[in-house]
Assembly symmetry: C2
Homo-oligomer: 415 residues x 2
Amino acid sequence: MKCAILAVGTELLFGHTVNTNAVYLSRQLNSMGIDVLYHYAVGDNPDRLKELLHQALKDCDLVITTGGMGPTQDDLTKEVVCQVQQDQLQEHAPSMERLLRHFQKRKRPMTENNKKQALLPSRAIVFDNNHGTAPGFALTFEERTVICLPGPPSEMTAMFSESVGPWLAEKSSEALHFCTVRTFGIGESMLETKLLPLIDGQDDPTLATYAKEGEATLRIASKRATKEEAKQAVEEMLSRVREYIGEYIYSTEDQGLAEVVAGKLIARSITISCAESCTGGMLAEKLTDVAGISAVFERGIVTYSNRAKHEELGVSEQTLQECGAVSPQTAKEMVLGLREKTKSQVCVSITGIAGPEGGTEEKPVGLIYVGVVFDERAEVFELRTNNKNRQWNRNYTVLFALDKINRMLDNRDVE
Amino acid sequence: MKCAILAVGTELLFGHTVNTNAVYLSRQLNSMGIDVLYHYAVGDNPDRLKELLHQALKDCDLVITTGGMGPTQDDLTKEVVCQVQQDQLQEHAPSMERLLRHFQKRKRPMTENNKKQALLPSRAIVFDNNHGTAPGFALTFEERTVICLPGPPSEMTAMFSESVGPWLAEKSSEALHFCTVRTFGIGESMLETKLLPLIDGQDDPTLATYAKEGEATLRIASKRATKEEAKQAVEEMLSRVREYIGEYIYSTEDQGLAEVVAGKLIARSITISCAESCTGGMLAEKLTDVAGISAVFERGIVTYSNRAKHEELGVSEQTLQECGAVSPQTAKEMVLGLREKTKSQVCVSITGIAGPEGGTEEKPVGLIYVGVVFDERAEVFELRTNNKNRQWNRNYTVLFALDKINRMLDNRDVE
């Protein structure tokens, strides 16, 4: 089955809302073996919406719309879909009852315009909204189906998982399986070059590389008659991929580096503390974003000032003066001071110049030192990013530090 | 000028990547008075891309593509755009030189597939990529322009702000002015209800409300013959808006709360330190994301464990035992200990239960205490979010704390 996802709402075109609905639906549909060919977004404009629907239905058996289902005048999705799919709106008694109950339960008056939400196409298969007021529906005409879902993500996702997904699963035949391989320390072009022997002439499973901020990711996907066959084909390809780029892989389950590292720390009850200068708490924040980390995360210290580096971590004033705050010596004294203070098994220090200002010829923006201690092993790493963007430098530095921790936890090569 | 934004990349259709490029470009283009009519996303499929380009160019004078510009085999945007805009690719000598320098500087070998990135349409206006390897370009045919930009957001946004935006600004005629009013502490529906007297029957300026994670935002927009007229209309409306919801407004320049607070601290040379438990460094990270903060950001301490709260901040063992780590007493001792230690003018403490686990009937997930000291004023605030989502709770807590700091810096009411 081939599908397009069509979001309706002027707020998207103003850039006020991120289209997370398209992300959610894409993942769900792909996992069910339904090909997503297009994402579209259009404003609350019936003519353009109508044209896009016609366009989408040329290539696709299925179009899923989100948004434009509410009670107000600019909510016009249902009207337009009726035109395209040759049907008419009429009051849907069970939906009207649900609406009335919804407002009664909340002891709020139901304004007249809300009644519009119980108007549905006469031939529609209706999906109840258990988290809001606008029901969804599927409307088929000449073997092509349009499914209309409400715009708020919490309503849309619940409706999909509760009703729409199961309804679609019955209709779908093929099965897709895919695996997302995440790497650090290798660029996208080098990744592809190394994998060329596997990519060239490969029909199924397919391999596709893409760049994320500071990372390169590989997707291995297979579409077969059954889920089991697809899964096996992906797994066989993955083991071949490992032969070529295994050293850069940190997750084959689309987990982020922080999640991978935190998972290992929690599973092995290894305590961790971090001392950050230029990343300002980002490493601590990313690690503590993982539920359950409190069992092992001992302490984080953001030592932005020299005074803080001295008072909190015992970095000597001589080192700060002679070598500077951004130096391997300072990174080392930071991490050793942190270890002395916290006794955590893993200690990490970060000091560097995130930019955009503060660089010199000798110590340019993007120069970072990372210290890591794990049990008996202590290392200081130098990173030069060649980048002036503060956010990028901070984010990349945290990935760099996490990668080193990850390698040390695995007792792997750290270079 | 009417515009469509077209993202290229199978990863979008798999739901692996969120299309933040469309959000950024939509905001930029709208602010320049360019109407965005459509967002499209399509996979690495030349036929479908070609059809979408033809479709988009029917309604729009301008199509901006993102992605598919890299060195690998599935990067095909340039080839397809050349077909649609009737041009041919040829080596662009300055871009080839930049590419060679890029790899030399990083002391990394340039793989053969990278050379593809210096192939550009012969009539193209080229935009340099100062943050990556793939240049962008504009290609005009029969008065319709296609602009192709790289996919990675850091490269795309830099290229747009440095080169593409100024180039487009010269071409645009109508003038739009808008102002994004950011609020905290009021929901979207209540915001709209309070502003109804201003929204009803209003043609220009228009008012539109949007919900962000934990915030509600209002956009006031006017389109007039000149930029000055539009600006004046927006400013008059803004002063009326202030009469209704002034107490909730923290920025009228679309700045985030962290940016607003950091800006005030830097401008007034007020030092700050923070001690965080459940937010794990997120407050420090958000503040230190602002360039120039090092002048005032003294220290951040992530005291996840009770031991760290005691050792770092002097929270008494009795308090931790009798009142618990999540209590107003602990928040208060944390913030006073931090003040004692750092002497920073503003000190903030956060302790709470972010979830998803760890809640009890008496102290549920989402219960947070925030302590703030500013000069002689010391306050402890209680927050109950009624939410089980860890990320949401952490993010909202940081906003809540920043809002309190912001109000105290302004000497405003903190409730």
